[in-house]
Structures are given as structure tokens and as C-alpha cells.
Amino acid sequence: MTSSGDGIPLPGVSIIVTGTTQGTTTDGSGNYSLLVPAEATSLTFRYIGYVSQEIKIAGKSIFNVSLVEDAAQLNEVVVTAMGIQRNSKEVGYAITQVNPKDVLQISEPDMLKGLQGKAAGVDIRTSQGTPGAATRIQIRGNSSFYGNNEPLIVVDGIPFNNDQVTTSSQTSGGSAYGSGISNLDPNDIESMNILKGSAAAALYGSRASNGAVIITTKSGNAKRSSRGQEITFRSSVSMENIANLPKYQNSYGAGSQFNYSNSNGSWGPAFRDLDSIPAWPDYKAAYPELFPSDNIAYVAHPDNVKDLFNTGMVYENSLTFNGGNEKTAFSLTASQLNHNGYVPNSAFDRTNISVGGSTKLDNGLNIRANVAYTSSKQKGGFFGENQVDGTASQFARSLFLSRDWDLNLPYQDKEGNNLTPLGAGQFDNPLWSAYNNTATTNETRLVASTHLDYKINEWWQLDLNGGTNVSFLNRREVYEISSRAAQGLGSLTLDERRHSEIEATFLSTFTPKISDDFTLKGIVGFNYNQRTVNREGQTGNRFIERGTYNLINTEQSIFDNDYYSRRRLMGLFGDVTLGYKDYAFLTVTGRNDWSSTLPYESRSYFYPSISGSFVFTDAFNIKNDILDFGNIRLGYAKVGRDTDPYNLFRIFEITPNFLGIPGGRISPTSFDPNLKPEFSNEFEVGTRLSFLQSRIEVDFTYYNKNSTDLLAGIQMPPSTGFDELFTNFGKINNRGTEIELIVRPIVNTDFNWEVRGAFTQNKNIVKELKEGTTRIPLAGVLTGISPYLEAGMPYGYLRGTRSMRDDDGNLLINPNTGGLIEDPNEGYIGNPNPKYKLGITNRLSYKGFTLVALFDMTKGGDMYSVTNSSLLGRGVTMDSEDRETNMVIKGVYGDATTGQPILDANGNKIPNQTRLTVNDLYFSPNATLGQTFGINTASEWNIYDATVYRLREVSIGYTFPKSWISKTPMGSLTLSITGRNLWYIAPNFPKYSHFDPEVGSYGSTNVQGIELSAAPTTKRFGFNLTATF
């Protein structure tokens, strides 16, 4: 008996003569023998965690069977809150187990991105396409207005801080900051369980109101491997390229209305109509020898954008050692990742070492302990809206270069100053920027955890788990002299942050035997958590000499922050599970929290949960060929949540000196001193069904979650003297369905085909705000576009400027310009939340070969895209190539002042007949009274439906047969090639922008659906090797 895929022998598989009780089990090497009665026709092979197989005897006497792992793992043990292990069928809420193998060696160094399309109910959103950029994970929507809406990540019992540390605003000049989880070594993961609902996470309380991801590592759970000792070596190398390079027109160069000028837009004369143009002034001044004549040829540079990028490489190597004996085990994982992005000088490097051991003492005490060390370095440039003064996005013009610009010319003058064809500080040369404007983040993280457990007797066990997770982040953001940012004088921002978390959990588990029919499991526990943050930031302006990036080399030094915070949370909890005849289960939990961040009167709060699972196939003895397993789950939970530290008192702020005089102000946030905890109430119902002997398995969940009394700052009218009042208010609802489906059309010894689907749908609606408040901004992004919260509207819907329309919805056209008129009132322009997400994985295996293909799609979700507005407005793509014609915007003439249509003598509206050039159609002739569709227009025209279909992952692997490698020290050898993001289509974006909407400018924050010239996504090919010894 072997396991399909890796060919590892399976001990303990039960083999039963079908229809009898006669059978046997395999030994440690997976061998078995069984005396079969003559009348038997087939054998059934069963093994926990694998799909059962029935094989016809048909006269044969040797059956070499390989079993296929069962993803749904109907009877598998799952890890639930507080590390409590349960049989999946007794659980009354949705849990998805992720096989760590599914996120390894898929040419994706970011573990969260590797989860895309694989787990129902889990929404993964990426940000920039540069190495190490944050990925957002969200389960069942946003349940808090401004708080962290990501799930709690727990690694070996210790929360793993996944904060995105933002140093500079990502609207204007922040970098592609990463988030904490990028420091977790995927190679060390042994199991990953995603607890989606409040019922699942109720024991964690406060911090898991958005679900929890429970990860156990190999080092944290050191066990002797099935082969006694084992060394696993994994190695991958991948090449990456920019995925979405637009298709450029190469017929027209810089200028406007077919006239040449040295400008951003490619609306100038056709290349065939003009031979030469004046040499670009800054280049000529810097390199007179390169421009002997005053003029240069006016020709297209078709690859000027493509040449800005490299082929990036991802190298990943890891070694895992595993060994021990019956009592003691040891595990070590060491990994190294080097990722050089397709953007020059962007990289993410990570080194991990994790060591763990476990032993059973003679007195019966089990001890496990592990330490994991990570060191990572991320390097990259700056992003953000390219029009904000004082900042310098590396992508300000990268994708929209004028078609005649030759960026193969030197990117700097002889002194090292930034050079562009346009000059005048409109943007930094992207290549100069790559090497001179850099953000470098070093992070070191140490995780240590220990676990002790002791069985007092048959029915009473004690567990003590404790540990710490400490991270040190050091970041330097540099703008070199001559950048358009920092007034051209250079600046350095330093950010140092130390985050440490201590967590201890004590559990006392009672499993008394009460009767044959009833089982009882009771847990009482205590949980202690402390989080401490220290942060210091400083900015130095005006470099004294270029090239040295420290504060000493700056003329002006400003303290940005110097901050300390500490919070504590303690919880006492209980959990009782009652089982009846192994088919009906009821779990009741309760937890009381004490939080240091709430006022004395309300810092203690209690919340319960109740959930049940009923295996009706067992209860009613339904066991037939069609339906072989079915349960119904019901769950209700309430979860409380505290606030951040120091949100209770009136404070003043010290601000930088003015004219050498120190000063400050009252804090613009006023705190309600009577804060209460916020609560989420969630109901969920689900079912898991298995048909045709696990050929078809389906898991369906519906949930409805209301979160109330949310703790957030509510925007106040400025006349109150404050920006916001931090208090309890409002209500937010999330409703949705999650479906996981597995179909196995072909299951046999040599050839297997499995299709897995994961469907996620969530509707996230704000139900109430504070009385008298219509809406509040989720974040201030730019004038004319921001995400908002408003009762009855989707979370973070996009609100911004629109064009005026008449009562019939016709666009009003300014007769003077032929353009649109901006409505002075802003309104709804988009909903960034997708309608649903669907992932379909096909896995085919034939003997040693496996082929995996993941197709996924996101339906709906709007995006404000500066990349697209710029591509159109700058006239660089083939979308605007056909331009030697005039256009008329469909609409009726209107009066800009009254906002009413202009009527003719008969009182009828007058259809617009004012012609516009194609240039004007994409670059507004007038920013207020003659708007069109690309640049300088109402924000509504830069909103696109971000529906996207994608072939996300393809991998072809081959596991060498044992016989081939038996003479080598290797136990197994697998080779695979992978492709990632090989094909996608986002049909609602301009055709030739070839835009991939899987980018965002705000990393893992709550602001989604806004793209301000983000770095495009990547396409990768990789080669992978796994060998065990």
C-alpha cells in the first residue's frame, strides 16, 4: 500500500473483504496479506485521510494499491481554536484544511498568494507586483470599520503578527510594503486550518472575530517520520516577467492635436509626417557630445517600456531534517529565498531556520519546543499617485512613455542627476529612480514556543502552551538629490519598529466516560496575551553629499514618531462537547475577556457560542452507493473585541518647532471615555455530503454576521474642533456562501483525476452609522475619489466625482467645449467588493506523473485605475491609435451653472453635435467644463469592472519510481515544472491595456479597489525538485 503521489508506504490501512467484516491491516512497510473467501468479489481499502477504494478481485492475487489523499478528509482530525483537535465530523462550523504541499513549489514565494482559489470563503488580494509586497487575506468580509479586518494567524499556539508597517502614505509615495506573514517559512508548515466563522474562532475571542488561520509547523510539532529519519531537500528556480505589458501604438509621438511639443502625451504628429524634433533640452545640456545637431530624429521606440524591465528570478532552497525514536523527535528546517523582481533593483530575500524537538519524559510529561528565526530584506521603489507634489512614483510614467522617448539614453547626467526627455521635474526617470530612490526594509523575527502536556489519568489532561513572537523592523526610505520628491534636495526616512507578543495558554481537558452512547469532552482554559510595540521614526532632509544615506548626511532632521504601546488581554474560557452515538454533537463555549484597553467598567466581557453537527447518514443509517456521508452543521456565536491602547483619554500632541519655538495642539481625535467592547453575532449553517464513495464531495456553508457597537473614530464636522470622535457606533453585516466541491471522475491505481472547486461569495453591507451621520470616509485617498462607509451601502464603496446628467440619464454636454460637465456633488461610483470568486483545480495523475491546473476567476468588484486613465489619456496604446477622426460624445447640451439641459425653441433637448478630436476624448480639453474620459475627468470614468479570468497555476510533476532510485541514497525524487499566471483576461478594461486588475495600491489595508499606477503583476515559469533521503 502506498500513498498516491509521493509513493510513501502506508502502514495501518484496513483491507476488508467487501460486504464482510473479514479483513486485515498493513504493516509498517505497507505490506499485507489476506486470506480471501472464494465467494468474495472485491476488496475495500480504507485509510483515514484517504479516499476509500474498492477493487475487483477478478482472479488476481497481488494488489499493489496506492490510495489517493482525501482533501475533504471527512473523518480527519482538524485543529480548532486553542489548538484543540477534533474529528471533523463533530465540528459545527466550517473549517478548511489546506495541504501545505499545495502552496509549495508553485513558483510563488508568497504563501498567501499560493492560497488563491484553493479555499472557499477566503479572499486573497494582492497589491504591487514587486517582490515582498503585502497580500491581504480576508475571511467572510470586513466586520470592523477601521480596525484590522484580517484573520488572526496563530503559529504553534502563538499569534503571528501580520501587520503591514506603513512608513509613508501609499497614496503619495509609499513603497510596496510587505506584511508580517511573509516571514513565515512555508517549507516548515505541517498543517494549516482555516477557521472561518465566529463559532470556530469563539475561543480565541476578540482577536479572531475575522476568523483564524491555525498553522502548525514541523519544528513546532517534531515527530518521527514514517521512515525513522528523513531529510527533505527542496529546490526551485523560477523566472518572472511583467505579465501585463500594454500593446502600444507606434504611429504617433509626443505632442497634442497632431502638433509636436515636448510633453507627456503621445498625441503629436504621426512619425511619417515629421522627421526631426529639437533635442531634449536636459539631455542636450548634459551630453552635448551625443547631440551634435540641435535636432534628433523623430521616431518610435517601440520597446521603450519593455526595456525598463528585467527578467526576474526566484530561487528557493530548503532542507528539512527529521528524526528521532519512539520517545524523542527532532526537526530542523532551513530555507533560503532570493527573489529579484522584474523591476530593476527590487528584491525580497529571506532566510529561515527553525528547530524543534519533542520528548516524552519518564513521568509521562510530554514536552515540545521550537525556535524559528527569520531574517528578510525587501528592496524596492516608491509608488502612489503620480500627480501628488513632492513625491516620486517609480511608475509615474513607466507604462505611459511617449512613444518617441528613448530611455536607452543615459538616465543621469555626469553628476548623477536624474535625466528625462521631459525635464522640469515632472517625473523621475524610472531607471534612475530604481537605483536612487529606494526603500529597504530589514526584518528579523524570532518565534519561540513551548508546549507541555500531561495526562493525569484516562479522562483528564493538562496542556500548557507558551511562547513569544518578536519582530524587529528597520526601514530606510531614500530619495536621492535631483528626484522630483523632497524638493530635489534628497531625503531619508528611517523607521524602526519592534513588536513583541507573549502568549500563554493553559488548558485542562476532561473526557470522562459517561455512557456507551454519550461522549463528553470538557475544557477549561486560561489565556494570557501581551503585545508591545516600540517605534521610532526620523526624517532627514537635504543630503549634504549625494550617495551617503544616513541622517548624519542631512541638513535638517525631524522626528516623525517615537512611540511605545503595550496592551494585555486575559481570557478564561470553557468548552463542552457532548456527543451522542458518534453522530450527533453539540458544542457550547464561553469566554470572558479582560482587556487593558477598555475602561475599568467595561473591560470584562463575556461571549458564548453554540454549535452542533448531526451526521444524518449515520443516524438514519443511510449508507448506500449514492450517499455515503452527510451531516448538517449549525452554529451561532458571539465574539467580543477590544480596542487599541490609549483610546480613552484627552491628549495633546507635540509638533515640530516653529521658528525655533516648541509647540503643540490638542489631539484632533477626541476619545469617548466610556468605550464598550464591540460584538459580532454570527449564525452559520452548513452541510457536508459525500456521494458515490467519495467520488463527489460537497461542503456548503451559509453565514450571516452582524457586528455592532463598532469601535472606530467617526468623522466630526471640523467646526467641532476635532477630526473625529472615537466611540462605539454603527453596525455592519456580512452574509455569504462558501462551497467546496470535489469531484473524482477517475480513481484507480494508475490514473486519477480530481477536480476541486472553491466558491466564495460575500456581501458586506454597512447597516448603520451614528445618528445624524450620513457617511464617513474609510480613508482619504484623493480629492474626487475615496472609499466611504454609509448605511445601506457596501463596505468601502467608492465615492467620487461624476458627470452631470439630466433626469433621463443623458450626459449633459457643455456646448462651448463639447465635453462633459462635472457634477458639483459627488456620488457612488463603484463597489470594490467582488460578487464572487471561484477557483477550480484539476489534478491528473498517471503513475508518477501529476498535472495540476488551477483556473480561477473573480466576478465583479470595481477598480479605480490610474494606470488605465493614463494609458488612454497619454494616447500610448493601440486603443487610441485610430485617431484621425472626430468624435461626438452621446448626450444633450446642458448648462453648467444650472445643471439643466438646454432646450431649443420647442422646448426639446438638443442632442450634442460638438465634435471632439480623439486627443480631446481622452485628455480633457478643460478640467471642469470640458471633461472627457481619460485624464482630468470625473472619477467615474476611471472606474472599471475588475472581473478577471485566469489560469493561475499549472504544474507538471514526475515522481521517479522507487526502483529507479533504489541504488541512490534517495528515498524519493520528484521533479516538476510550474507556470504561474500564464493567461488571464479582464474583459472590462480597455482592450490593449492588457491590464491585470490583481494589483492595488494599499497593500493589506482596508482600502481596496484603488490602483494608483501600481507595479503590474508577474508571470512565472519554474523548475522544482524535491528529494528525500
Partner: protein
């Protein structure tokens, strides 16, 4: 059971853990920020933000705070500057970045913190701070009423008393309370029985704690406010009383100004200087303003060139220098390059980053124009020009106006002459006293051209009737005010002077076109005329800041047409 006995040792540990809970949780006092700041720490920042909220331009200060000033919009509305942004054609909306900066700055940074000084100082007996705070409060509210009309007043700054939606009080009801507030401020300052354990000194960046100057500023503010309401109220006796007492700003050094500084250990520059280092410069000088300075306007100052030009405007191009990349310009005369108000001309939107003329040394601490040209940069000037709230020259113009309109008696011509004289001295005073340039700047007042100019202006003044004389007074005040436009906007709406460019006026723009100097551009002679348009009537007030309206349940709905929304002092 042996094990159970061992376990019992754990129980006390658990007990101790629980028992120490309470102590463990009492850690929520913010160690990062003070729970109190004294008056002396609040005052400098208040004064600074008052300056930001009124001046031209905007910037990010204190790391992350965005400030912007009313003059950004009003300098376009008063035809001192032109722009491609929405103040062009009087199009500023309630969502304007600069309204956001100024409304937020005035209500949050200025008025809220003034309230704390007043509350705290009254309790502690630090009445000098209280007096200054009341005068600044009165000044701030008067500017808000002048610009917006009705604004939150009686219920503002009271979030901590659970007043979340402050009602908008009528301007006519606010003004009388401001006079009371000023009087209270003066009496607090003169209170000799007050404890005054803490007294303003260098932290008062305006007057360095000089109580006498503060009282003079307060009285001059009253003079200004009385003048502003003269059309709806008989203010003769009030004004006469003030003038008789004579405790008014009486020299340039007593002028009520908010100083700014250079970019030294902190960046203390006037935000109007921002164009010197902006990556996309946007403050054009109004051709209307320029032509009046040059003496080209057929209606006023005709034929008289103003010697203040090189102090007012910096040309990045020398008179005989080609533009960068030979870019076409809409308006060029010698080195002076700009665009028109209401322009829809073909060259309006050309990038003129290193071609356009900029605000000079006097208004924003930029560069004195020595005629040589040169691309502006962060290091071109110091940026240390103050924002002028009420100068000595302003006081003199107020008196000249009051005499001209018969509110008080006196020799209006002599007062006018004194005012113009003082306006020129003021330029030198600002440059040497505040801007402290690194380049050599000649003295303006001693330049013989100055006396010639003043004589020529006075000759024109003498030739005019009373209305024309008022036009001369208001036009000179407008020229002098350059750099800050809030009071100019008020003066124009009150008096109708100076006369501004109107693209719809056929005498100013025949056939909707204006003609730049035909051969003003030596490289592109025969400059074509430029089409201009105006789709809105003159706004009698600014729209309210949109966010205030959207967040304040007591707020009125936005002004649909600001040209019909008059401030109460305008009958």
C-alpha cells in the same frame, strides 16, 4: 492520584495570575503624549496655522498635516494670480483642497486651540494669554464671516460638551459679538490684577508678548471691522472714538503680521513659496495685475510703471531668453510669462514649469528679479515672507477710505499719500526684517522712481472725482496687499474697486478675445489674441467646505450660486 497531588502546586500559580489581573490591566495611560499643554506651547502653533489658513498655497507640514490657505482661491478672485485649477472662472467648489485646508486649519488648529487657551488661561489667571486668544479668535471669526457669510460660531468647538452639530450663526449676529470679544481681550491684556504666572514671550511669534502692540492690533482690527460694515451701519462715532484714542498700529514694526521663516532646522516657509520647488508649478501672475503695474491699463494708473515690479514678480526667463524647448506661451512680454483668467487659448495648458513668472520676494520670500532669469529652485529665496494680517499701510488705507466716503472728516489725499508712501516702505521693511535674502536687493523706497511713481499717482488721484479717488485708494490698497487676498476680496465686494478683468466685458475682451503684447515675445512675434470666457457671475462669498456640510446635521445645504449669497455687510 499521585499526579493530582503534584498538580495542586500549579493551582496557586494560576490563582496568583488571576489575582494580579487587575494590576496587569491598569496599563492604559498613554506614555507617548502629554495630557496637558500649557498656553505657551499652544500659542505659537495657533499663530502659525492662522497664517497657513489664509495664505497662498498649501503644503504638508508637521510630517503629515495638509494645510492650504484661502488666498490660493481669493488671489485668483481678486485678479492678482491666475491658474489652470478650479478658481479660474470663479469655479472653486466646496471640495476644493484649499477650502479643506483653510476651514480645517481655522476651526481645528486655530479656534479649538484658542478655546483651550481661553478656558485654561481664565482658570489659571493667565489673562495675557487669554487676551491674545480672544483677539485672535475675533480676528479669525471675522475672516470666516467675511469669506463665507454664515458660519458655526456659538456652538462651535464644543465637541467635548457633546455638541456635535454646531448651528450656522448669521454673520450679522456674529459681528457684534466679535467687537465684545475684542474689548474683552483688551481688558484682559490690561488687567493688572491678574495673576499672570505665565506670560507670553517669544512663544507669541506675532508680537513677542508685547501687550501694547496687541492692544493696538485689537483697536486697528476694530477700525477695519467698522469700515467693513459701514454700508449697513452708521459707524462714525465708533470710528471717531478709535481714532481719537489713537491707540492704533502706527508704524510698520507694529504691523499685525504672522512671521514665517526659512527652511532651516525646521521648514518654516510661507506656503506661497511652494512654487519655487514644486514639480508642477501652478501660480501664474494675473496679466491684469501685471498690466496695471506696467501702466498699460487704460482705466487706471495709465502710463505709470510701478517700481515694485521686480520685488513683486520673478521672471524665470531673461527678457531675451528663449523658453525651454522653445515652448509656445499664451502671454509673454520680455521675461514675463503667464496665462489669462478664463483662458481657453491653445497654449494655456502648455507646461511652463521653467518659463512662467513666479511670485516674487515681497509676497512670498521668493527671488528678487535682477533681470537675469534662471530656473527657480528650492534655494532661490528664503521663503520667509510673513503673512500680513493688518499692516500700518492698511490702517492708513482704511482711514483714507473712511474720509473719502465721508464717514469721518479729514484730508483724504494726505492720508492716501501717507498710505502709498507706507506701502513702499513696507516692502523694504518686509525684505530686511523678515525675508532676509541671500542675494543683494536694492532698497525700494530710496529709489527715485518711487517718489516719481507716487507723485504721478497722486496727480491722477487729484484729477478724479470722489468715486475715481476711491478707486485709486482701493487700487493702491490692492497692489499693496499682494501676497494675501482675503481682505482684498472683502474690499472689492464692499466698494466695487479695483475694477477686475471680466472676459464678458466687450471693452476688456472685445469679441471674447484678449490681445497679449503683440511683439512681447521676441522669439514668436505677432502673438495671436487669446479667447477667454466666463460662465459664472462674481461670487459674493465662497462655498462652504463640503465635508462640514456633509458631517454637520445642522448645516445648511450648499450655496447653489455663490454669486447671489451676500455677506451681511453688503446691502
Amino acid at each position: 492520584m499521585k499526579m493530582i497531588r503534584k498538580i495542586k502546586y500549579l493551582l496557586p500559580i494560576a490563582f496568583i495570575l488571576v489575582a494580579s489581573c487587575s494590576k496587569q490591566l491598569d496599563i492604559n495611560v498613554d506614555p507617548n503624549n502629554p495630557q496637558n499643554l500649557s498656553e505657551s506651547k499652544l500659542l505659537p502653533r495657533i499663530e502659525r496655522y492662522l497664517g497657513y489658513s489664509l495664505s497662498i498655497g498649501g503644503q504638508t507640514v508637521d510630517g503629515d498635516q495638509q494645510v492650504g490657505g484661502l488666498s490660493e482661491i481669493l488671489s485668483v478672485y481678486t485678479h492678482q494670480l491666475t491658474t489652470r485649477e478650479d478658481p479660474d472662472q470663479y469655479g472653486a467648489t466646496g471640495g476644493s483642497y484649499y477650502l479643506q485646508g483653510s476651514w480645517n486649519g481655522l476651526y481645528k488648529d486655530v479656534l479649538m486651540n484658542l478655546k483651550i487657551i481661553i478656558d485654561k488661561g481664565t482658570e489659571a489667571g493667565n489673562l495675557k494669554y487669554v487676551g491674545i486668544a480672544k483677539i485672535l479668535k475675533a480676528f479669525t471669526y471675522s475672516q470666516l464671516v467675511d469669506v463665507f457669510g454664515d458660519v458655526p460660531f456659538s456652538e462651535a468647538s464644543q465637541l467635548e460638551d457633546q455638541v456635535y452639530n454646531a448651528k450656522f450663526d448669521k454673520g450679522s449676529e456674529i459681528y457684534p459679538q466679535l467687537f465684545t470679544l475684542i474689548d474683552e481681550g483688551i481688558s484682559d491684556l490690561s488687567n493688572t490684577e491678574a495673576l499672570n504666572l505665565s506670560e507670553p514671550d517669544a512663544d507669541d511669534v506675532i508680537y513677542k508678548g508685547n501687550v501694547d502692540n496687541w492692544i493696538k492690533a485689537a483697536n486697528t482690527l476694530k477700525l477695519k471691522l467698522y469700515t467693513q460694515i459701514r454700508l449697513v451701519q452708521d459707524v462714525s462715532s465708533d470710528v471717531n472714538k478709535l481714532l481719537t484714542e489713537g491707540n492704533l498700529i502706527s508704524s510698520a514694526s507694529e504691523s499685525f503680521v504672522i512671521p514665517f521663516g526659512p527652511n532651516a532646522s525646521t521648514d518654516d516657509r510661507n506656503s506661497g513659496y511652494g512654487d519655487y520647488f514644486a514639480s508642477q508649478r501652478g501660480h501664474y501672475i494675473s496679466p491684469w495685475f501685471y498690466e496695471i503695474l506696467k501702466g498699460y491699463n487704460p482705466n487706471i494708473n495709465t502710463g505709470i510703471e510701478d517700481p515694485r515690479l521686480p520685488y513683486y514678480i520673478y521672471n524665470q526667463r531673461g527678457a531675451d531668453q528663449a523658453t525651454e524647448s522653445n515652448a509656445q506661451t499664451e502671454y509673454r512680454e520680455g521675461g514675463f510669462i503667464t496665462i489669462y483668467f478664463g483662458s481657453v487659448g491653445q497654449y494655456r495648458d502648455q507646461t511652463q514649469q521653467n518659463n512662467m513668472s513666479l511670485l516674487g520676494i515681497y509676497p512670498v520670500g521668493g527671488k528678487y528679479d535682477d533681470g537675469k532669469g534662471g530656473n527657480a529652485s528650492a534655494n532661490s529665496g528664503t521663503g520667509a515672507a510673513p503673512y500680513r494680517l493688518i499692516t500700518y499701510a492698511d490702517r492708513l488705507y482704511l482711514e483714507a477710505e473712511l474720509m473719502n466716503t465721508g464717514v469721518i472728516s479729514g484730508d483724504a489725499r494726505a492720508k492716501f499719500e501717507e498710505a502709498v508712501d507706507e506701502s513702499f516702505k513696507q516692502v523694504d521693511y518686509i525684505i530686511t526684517g523678515f525675508v532676509k535674502p541671500t542675494q543683494t536687493v536694492p532698497e525700494l523706497y530710496s529709489n527715485p522712481a518711487t517718489a516719481d511713481y507716487i507723485d504721478a499717482i497722486l496727480a491722477k488721484y487729484d484729477a478724479g472725482n470722489t468715486a475715481k479717488k476711491l478707486e485709486y485708494i482701493m487700487t493702491q490698497k490692492w497692489l499693496s496687499s499682494y501676497g494675501g487676498s482675503v481682505d482684498q476680496y472683502t474690499d472689492y465686494r464692499r466698494t466695487g474697486y479695483p475694477i477686475f478683468f471680466d472676459p464678458r466685458d466687450p471693452s476688456m475682451a472685445p469679441g471674447g478675445r484678449v490681445q497679449p503684447p503683440v511683439d512681447g515675445d521676441p522669439f514668436n512675434p505677432n502673438k495671436p489674441s487669446v479667447p477667454v470666457q466666463l460662465n459664472r457671475n462674481y461670487p459674493q462669498s465662497l462655498p462652504w467646505y463640503q465635508t462640514e456640510l456633509e458631517t454637520n446635521a445642522s448645516a445648511p445645504s450648499q450655496k447653489t450660486d455663490p454669486s447671489t449669497y451676500k455677506v451681511f455687510w453688503r446691502p
